[in-house]
């Protein structure tokens, strides 16, 4: 596997701040702080808006889509909703009392798994939204990943534990990966922010950070590769303690994992990881990235926040207006 050469293309500014990004090839969907799911199409290096889904009220922090146009979104107010084509398919308001962190469709398209801060893992039917099964795993569940064959579902939590379940939600393995969590003063810091199954469908990739402090949150981005039983095979630290969390990832068709890390405002990188050998092959700086999806062998799109996003006090623009920040979609070529 050779190091990729990344090249950042012209970024596309969005009209709001987005929490997450998922893609089905060129069809992208981003979940907004305003509860709106915005659809885009990556057409070569240009990215065009193709529509939006409304209805959720909190931060839309978990989103997934299936070929054929099924989209599911979950928000920080505990609501879940799905859309198909241009219409709402079903709605599950107040599915949870609190934040729904992540959603992932099963590979066969029958179910959507939803991870919640209340510790519940729920399996809903994608056609009706009815609850198929639910299980309390007793911790803030932050990430989800189905194996490619759909037989296993991995769930990562705030305290750095991973639970692997069967497709019927029977727990098969539970293990801790030490170092993904810390209490600093009063603050709980860390968590497994992203999970992925390896190319062999047997290894698991847990992403997050080795936290050092709360507040600013100083943390070393971390990618831990384990076997399916939780034995640590590789433990990659992707930078220094100002570089924050490994927040999202996408598989390249050539079998390497693209991981985005974001630390102090203004920093961030895309990393090329060979998961099976446990090597970081290449990286490129990107400002404030927190989502990524693969469009094609040559193109990926990164979800990021605009530059100069931080500052104390009432930072105004040249016209004297106090503006919020916004997201950008950053096309990146990799050869």
């Amino acid at each position: 596997m050779k190091p990729a050469v990344f090249k950042l293309q012209k970024p596309v500014p969005l009209d709001a701040q987005m929490a997450c990004l998922r893609g089905d090839g060129p069809n992208l969907i981003a979940g907004g702080f305003d509860g709106v799911a915005r659809r885009y199409r990556a057409d070569g290096m240009s990215i065009v808006t193709t529509g939006a889904f409304n209805g959720l009220t909190g931060w839309l922090t978990g989103i997934d889509q299936l070929p054929g146009g099924f989209v599911v979104g979950v928000d920080s107010h505990g609501n879940a909703m799905s859309w198909k084509g241009d219409a709402r398919l079903w709605s599950r308001p107040s599915l949870s009392a609190g934040w729904l962190r992540a959603a992932a469709n099963s590979p066969d398209g029958k179910f959507v798994a939803i991870a919640a801060r209340d510790g519940f893992l729920r399996l809903l039917r994608t056609d009706t939204g009815a609850t198929h099964k639910e299980l309390s795993l007793g911790d803030d569940l932050m990430s989800l990943a189905w194996s490619r064959d759909g037989s296993r579902l991995a769930v990562g939590n705030l305290h750095g534990s991973v639970v692997v379940l069967s497709s019927s939600l029977t727990v098969t393995v539970k293990f801790d990966i030490p170092g993904f969590f810390k209490i600093d003063r009063l603050q709980a810091v860390g968590g497994i922010r992203r999970l992925a199954w390896g190319p062999d469908d047997a290894t698991l990739v847990a992403m997050g950070a080795e936290p050092r402090t709360g507040g600013f949150v100083q943390a070393i981005p971390r990618v831990a590769v384990t076997d399916a039983q939780g034995k640590l095979m590789h433990d990659l630290k992707l930078g220094g303690e100002n570089e924050g969390f490994a927040l999202d990832s996408g598989w390249h068709p050539d079998g390497w994992l693209a991981v985005v890390t974001s630390g102090q405002p203004g920093t961030g990188k895309i990393h090329q990881i060979d998961v099976l050998s446990g090597k970081a092959l290449a990286s490129v700086p990107v400002v404030n990235p927190h989502g990524i999806t693969m469009v094609s062998r040559q193109l990926m799109v990164v979800l990021a926040t605009n530059a100069n996003s931080s500052g104390n006090g009432k930072v105004k623009d040249s016209g004297g207006t106090y503006r919020g920040n916004h997201s950008v979609l950053q096309p990146v070529t990799a050869v």
């Binding site: 009063l186 709980a188 810091v189 709360g214 507040g215 404030n288 931080s310 500052g311 106090y322």
Partner: protein
């Protein structure tokens, strides 16, 4: 000088520190002090509590963040969903949502807010807890007038005293534990210790008589304080806190320290400050808030329960304050930065009209709507709530009369049960 330094005090620095603290033990009413049964509890959330995740939520707006607001026991007052237990106590609270202050840095803001940001007269004003204790004097005969419970080291907090001088320093219990060097060393027999204390007392008296040494007297007073503190170990021995109480307040630094503060107030300490660190959430703020806020919510709620049930809110004024709030704008690391422009504080208890919100911010929280209050307004209000008239009393500093609070500002009428004539 670090009076909080543990186990490494030379005799000279010990004497100096102890001399600094003597006035905390003053037995007489303070010169020019006021007669009042009131006490102050200042809960200082160091780093900056987010008004949007606490007292002034703006869900569904561009800066509102991921959380909802919830109704409270007072119709029309909604607070963050991260404070469900405190929502049952808004009938005891007055929320001030229109603070607009001057500093957006910790280095300036922490001191400036706690000193009340008076006009610059070339002197450092004392912190609120120290100033209150100075005017109200000790309530319990043997205990310091001003005490602080904080994470980390304890000792006498000389830097808070400003021009009042180190003799007004509050005694801080680091991690809620007794002051260092309080106990007799294990290898020193009680009889031998008594002998040494007797000898020290004799020498101190001789020194005081022969040379008029205030340091010698300070040393004597400090050893007396040590005796008192040893007898009142129940006030600051975490091992003696009730398990049930710890459960109610939360088994966290903040919960335990608020519980200890209740004990100090009951024992008659005039001014108690609880400091909580770790609120400067520039990054990952919302995940951080989900661990920070429940600890604050639980501890404050239990405290308000207890103070209310014991009738203490009649004479104890509770103030929850930071050096500033946090930016409405959410940065690229999902954090909020420093924000003095439009933020909130909360008060409860003595002299305050509870169950209300004073002031408001615009829909997205980016500025105060209508009139704003600076920290000087809040200082006038707090002093009046404690029974200290800021128009009748002033400091005397080297012959110069100095107002207690910014003379360009005034008490907030809506907050005070008995507002003075100059309140607005």
């Amino acid at each position: 000088m670090n009076c909080g330094m543990q186990h490494s005090l030379s005799r000279r620095s010990w004497m100096s520190c102890m001399g600094a603290a003597t006035a905390s033990l003053a037995r007489a009413a303070p010169s020019g002090g006021v007669s009042s049964d009131r006490q102050l509890l200042l809960v200082w959330l160091d780093g900056g509590l987010s008004q949007l995740e606490s007292w002034d939520p703006k869900p569904g707006t561009r800066f509102g963040g991921p959380f909802r607001s919830i109704p409270s026991v007072v119709s029309g007052i909604r607070i963050s969903e991260l404070m469900p237990q405190t929502a049952r106590h808004t009938n005891k609270l007055a929320l001030i949502r229109n603070l607009c202050t001057q500093d957006n840095s910790h280095s300036a803001g922490v001191a400036r807010i706690q000193r009340g940001d008076p006009k610059n007269r070339g002197v450092d004003y004392p912190y609120l807890n120290v100033a209150s204790a100075r005017w109200l004097g000790p309530k319990a005969v043997e205990l310091p007038a001003s005490m602080v419970i904080k994470p980390g080291n304890g000792g006498f907090l000389v830097n808070e005293t400003g021009f009042l001088g180190p003799r007004h320093a509050a005694l801080a219990l680091g991690d809620g534990k007794p002051p260092a060097l309080l106990d007799r060393p294990a290898d020193l027999a009680a009889a031998e210790d008594d002998l040494r204390l007797s000898l020290r007392d004799t020498l101190d008296r001789m020194g005081a008589t022969a040379r008029g040494s205030s340091l010698a007297l300070a040393n004597t007073e400090t050893f007396k304080l040590a005796e008192t503190l040893r007898r009142r170990r129940d006030l600051f021995d975490p091992a003696r806190l009730s398990r049930n109480d710890i459960e109610r307040y939360g088994d966290t630094d903040l919960g335990r320290h608020l519980l200890q503060a209740r004990g100090l107030l009951e024992a008659g300490v005039r001014s108690v400050k609880v400091i909580s660190y770790g609120w400067d959430s520039h990054g990952d703020h919302f995940n951080g808030s989900m661990s920070l806020m429940p600890q604050f919510d639980r501890g404050l709620s239990a405290l308000l329960d207890d103070l209310g049930n014991r009738g203490m809110l009649d004479h104890v004024l509770v103030v929850v304050l930071s050096e500033f709030g946090r930016t409405p704008r959410i940065n690229g690391h999902l954090g909020r930065d420093h924000w003095p422009e439009a933020w909130s504080a909360a008060m409860a208890g003595a002299g305050i009209v509870p169950g209300q919100v004073v002031g408001e911010t615009v829909a997205d929280g980016s500025e105060v709507k209508g009139d704003s209050y600076d920290i000087g307004h809040l200082f006038h209000t707090i002093f009046y709530a404690l029974g200290i008239s800021t128009s009748a009393i002033h400091y005397e500093q080297s012959g110069q009369p100095l107002p207690l609070a910014h003379e360009g500002m005034y008490p907030i009428k809506a907050l005070l049960r008995k507002p003075p004539e100059n309140a607005r």
